[in-house]
């Protein structure tokens, strides 16, 4: 799919002109490199494609709300205006649920860890995928709880059939949809069938659906599992504002489920796990529907552009429904990562068991992806032809 600079700009409304990617990226780097005496590789890097962040950060409404909240920075987030309670209501409003169905975390990682606490034990293991987001299995390891890792299929999709079988007598199934790092999606029907099947075959087993990348999905077959979480006491949906909402630095995540389920999550959460400024920013962001639409459109274009770069280089890219791509580079991810880092581009860490062949690259702005593409082509290209749009003098793909 051709991507032009013009269509990219067209996806952004005139009101957001201040968020020109080049300006923001430069500002971000300045802030990072100016931060301290002992810069680490991340602050020295030119382009950050390693952590699946939104390269533009929060929208204008969120940042204005954050600044307005300065006046209450000295108040606990329950006393600040707006308060944590107001954020809970905003999350509920955004998801058409009641506040009692919402538990907040300092990022969704906290809720993933709580789920492992609540539902697994030495006799009831965790079922997860390989590879997938590692936080639940890391928590299980720390607690000495068994983990059943179910390999993804050849297309990088979670093997729902094998996971359902592994779920028998398990305490918790972790279902990341779309899956990080493979970027692939299961449609609404497949998730509903999976939940129904596990509910029948292993009724005590809980299922945590991690929808961190929900807002980046473009596949029309997708639907959130939130309605299922409201129906089933053992189903929970986790979300985060660290991705499309551009607030990875602010640490806001949440879980949705039945009231009794959510009450249990609330008991385990870190006391005051929200920053007062983040609360204000998050409320504004959740109510700023246009900003999320624009961010999804921006990511979709940059994702298509990035996918095209790798395909033109001759590599297989999994069907991404997220803000990163997972690519079969046919060589160890470690060397690729190090070669890119030497050239100022950070890409994702290794993801066993696919670390010998695959790499994860987050989607930055189109401008960043074009510059990264040149480096990636150098690192991986060898004698391969230069992809369209990355050659000498070609500013943008046509």
């Amino acid at each position: 799919m051709p991507v032009s600079r013009r269509s990219f700009l067209g996806a952004i409304s005139p009101g957001t002109a201040a968020y020109s990617p080049a300006i923001v990226a430069a500002r971000g780097r300045e802030a990072f490199t100016a931060g301290g005496a002992a810069p680490t590789p991340r602050s020295e890097a030119k382009i950050l494609l390693d952590s699946n962040e939104n390269p533009l950060g929060p929208g204008r409404a969120a940042m204005e709300a954050l600044t307005r909240a300065f006046v209450d920075a000295g108040r606990y987030p329950t006393n600040a205006r707006p308060s944590m309670g107001d954020l809970r209501e905003a999350i509920a409003r955004r998801n058409s649920v009641k506040p009692e169905n919402v538990s907040m975390g300092s990022g969704s990682w906290e809720l993933l860890r709580i789920a492992v606490r609540l539902y697994t034990s030495s006799s009831r293991p965790l079922v997860t995928a390989a590879p997938t987001f590692e936080m639940p299995e890391k928590m299980a390891d720390q607690l000495g709880i068994g983990v059943r890792r179910v390999p993804v299929d050849k297309d990088g999709r979670l093997d729902l059939d094998a996971m359902a079988q592994a779920a028998r007598w398990a305490g918790l199934v972790f279902l990341c949809n779309p899956n990080n790092p493979t970027s692939t999606l299961h449609p609404a029907r497949a998730v509903a069938d999976f939940i129904a099947r596990v509910g029948q075959e292993s009724p005590e087993t809980a299922i945590l659906v991690d929808e961190a990348y929900h807002d980046y999905v473009t596949d029309p077959g997708y639907a959130t599992a939130v309605p299922l979480a409201l129906e089933h006491p053992n189903v929970i949906v986790a979300r985060t504002l660290s991705k499309a909402y551009g607030m990875a630095g602010m640490r806001v995540g949440y879980a949705i489920g039945q009231k009794h389920t959510i009450d249990n999550f609330n008991r385990w959460g870190i006391t005051f796990n929200q920053n007062s400024l983040a609360v204000a920013a998050a409320i504004a962001a959740l109510d700023d529907h246009a900003h999320i639409e624009a961010e999804r459109a921006r990511n979709t274009e940059a994702r298509a552009f990035t996918t095209r770069i790798f395909k033109d280089l001759g590599f297989r890219v999994m069907d991404s429904q997220a803000n990163f791509v997972f690519v079969d580079i046919g060589r160890p991810g470690k060397a690729f990562k190090e070669d890119c880092a030497r050239r100022g581009i950070l890409v994702g860490r290794e993801f066993p068991p696919l670390e010998k062949t695959h790499a994860r690259v987050s989607i930055g702005t189109i401008d960043e992806m074009q510059r990264a593409g040149v480096v990636i082509a150098e690192v991986l290209g060898g004698s391969r032809p230069t992809p369209a749009g990355l050659g000498n003098g070609a500013r943008r793909p046509k």
């Binding site: 802030a31 962040e53 940042m63 709300a65 307005r68 108040r75 205006r81 640490r251 920053n275 400024l277």
Partner: protein
């Protein structure tokens, strides 16, 4: 303070009319503009009750601190990045302040996270937690969650933590929690007394970690006080917790930290630094370098504290010797009725603290002006206006 208490403090309705500060003031950075923001001057917000229930610094962080947040976050970009490096920068700055290395520092989402992780990593069903019966409850609350038994040691007659009894209770324990000064009693244990206590616990309970929570350290004026941070970096069985929520005025920013021996600090990294947000990290980094402001805040608090204690004393109600930003007062009646009436008259004071809920109330120290207004209300409720005036 517990989450439940705080959740009940306010309703959404009370805030529903909240109106934003004018756009022009948003990016104001000059001193007057910030002062105006912080005092609410010109801000079309509805009157809010006096918040004397959560031991917050009424002035919040300094203008320079907030300006550093505004600059660091710019128009948004960095707010979208995971703040791993900011964590490292803050640890470095804290280490420099204490003259130790970054390997002696860990941080958390408020000191609450540090306290919870200490309970997680140093206690078990077989290794109890020892704490005062009337002290900050975060550790005991988390112990209940994970099935760790809690040995709650009653206060002594001076309403101080009973160090002898706590040392005895430490035998076979995993963690001994000492809040100094102690919340909610506001009392301090001298540096010598704490030193001897640590020695005693080490000899009676060689495996137990002593956790000293020095949340109110910067408000102490008693010269017998000593931080245990210097000892903690050399002693793997001692760790000191601190917070930016009190004198630094950053309760909303959620940053706390611990100082200790590298082995202990490593164990306290159980949850990583994922809970730390970039605004709080940037603010903490700016605030920890501003020692002058901390001293001004301590002086301000000392004056308002003196006024409050004197007022209660003249009215016939004894306070403990407060070394914090709150007072613990024997009002000779149940706290609940007093609190409810205060709330009706626009002043919030703290929740019940059993077993002293029938006689004592905790009142946080606001600004001197706020304390004058609050004591007017207290006088009416306690029926002592004339005497106190």
């Amino acid at each position: 303070m517990t989450r439940k208490e705080a959740d009940m403090s306010f309703t959404r309705r009370a805030f529903v009319k909240t109106v934003g500060i004018g756009g022009a003031a948003l990016f104001a950075s000059r001193r007057e503009a910030w002062a105006g923001l912080l005092q609410g001057a010109g801000a079309p917000r509805p009157a809010r009750p006096l918040l004397l229930h959560n031991n917050e610094n009424p002035l919040g962080p300094g203008e320079a601190v907030l300006e550093s947040v505004r600059q660091a976050l710019g128009q948004g970009g960095p707010a979208g990045r995971y703040p791993f490096e900011h964590v490292a920068h803050l640890h470095q700055a804290i280490a420099e302040k204490f003259g130790v290395g970054p390997e002696n520092v860990t941080s958390g989402c408020g000191s609450t996270q540090v306290l919870r992780v200490a309970v997680q990593t140093f206690t078990s069903p077989a290794k109890p937690l020892v704490a005062g019966q009337l002290t900050y409850e975060e550790c005991a609350g988390y112990a209940d969650l994970i099935g760790t038994p809690v040995r709650a040691v009653p206060l002594d007659r001076a309403m101080k933590l009973d160090l002898d009894a706590m040392a005895e209770a430490a035998k076979g324990a995993g963690l001994v929690f000492l809040n100094n000064p102690n919340n909610p009693t506001a009392t301090l244990l001298s540096g010598d007394a704490v030193d001897q206590f640590i020695d005693r616990v080490h000899s009676l309970a060689p495996d137990a970690l002593v956790l000293i929570d020095e949340a109110y350290h910067d408000y102490v004026t008693d010269p017998s006080h000593r931080t245990q941070a210097a000892r903690a970096v050399k002693d793997p069985r001692l760790v000191v917790a601190r917070t930016f929520s009190k004198a630094h005025g950053m309760a909303g920013m959620r940053v706390g930290y611990a100082i200790g021996h590298p082995d202990t600090i490593k164990r306290l990294d159980w949850e990583g630094s994922m809970a730390l947000n970039v605004a709080g990290l940037v603010a903490a980094l700016a605030s920890i370098k501003d020692q002058a402001r901390l001293q001004r805040e301590s002086a301000r608090n000392t004056e308002a504290r003196r006024f409050t204690i004197d007022w209660f004393s003249k009215a016939g109600f004894a306070s403990t010797d407060s070394q914090t930003n709150f007072v613990f007062v024997d009002i000779k009646r149940p706290a609940k009725a007093f609190r409810d009436t205060c709330r009706e008259q626009g002043v919030l004071v703290a929740r019940d603290f059993p077993p002293l809920e029938k006689s004592h109330v905790r009142v946080s120290i606001g600004t001197l002006d706020e304390m004058k207004r609050a004591t007017d209300v207290f006088g009416r409720i306690l029926g002592v206006t004339a005497r106190a005036a």
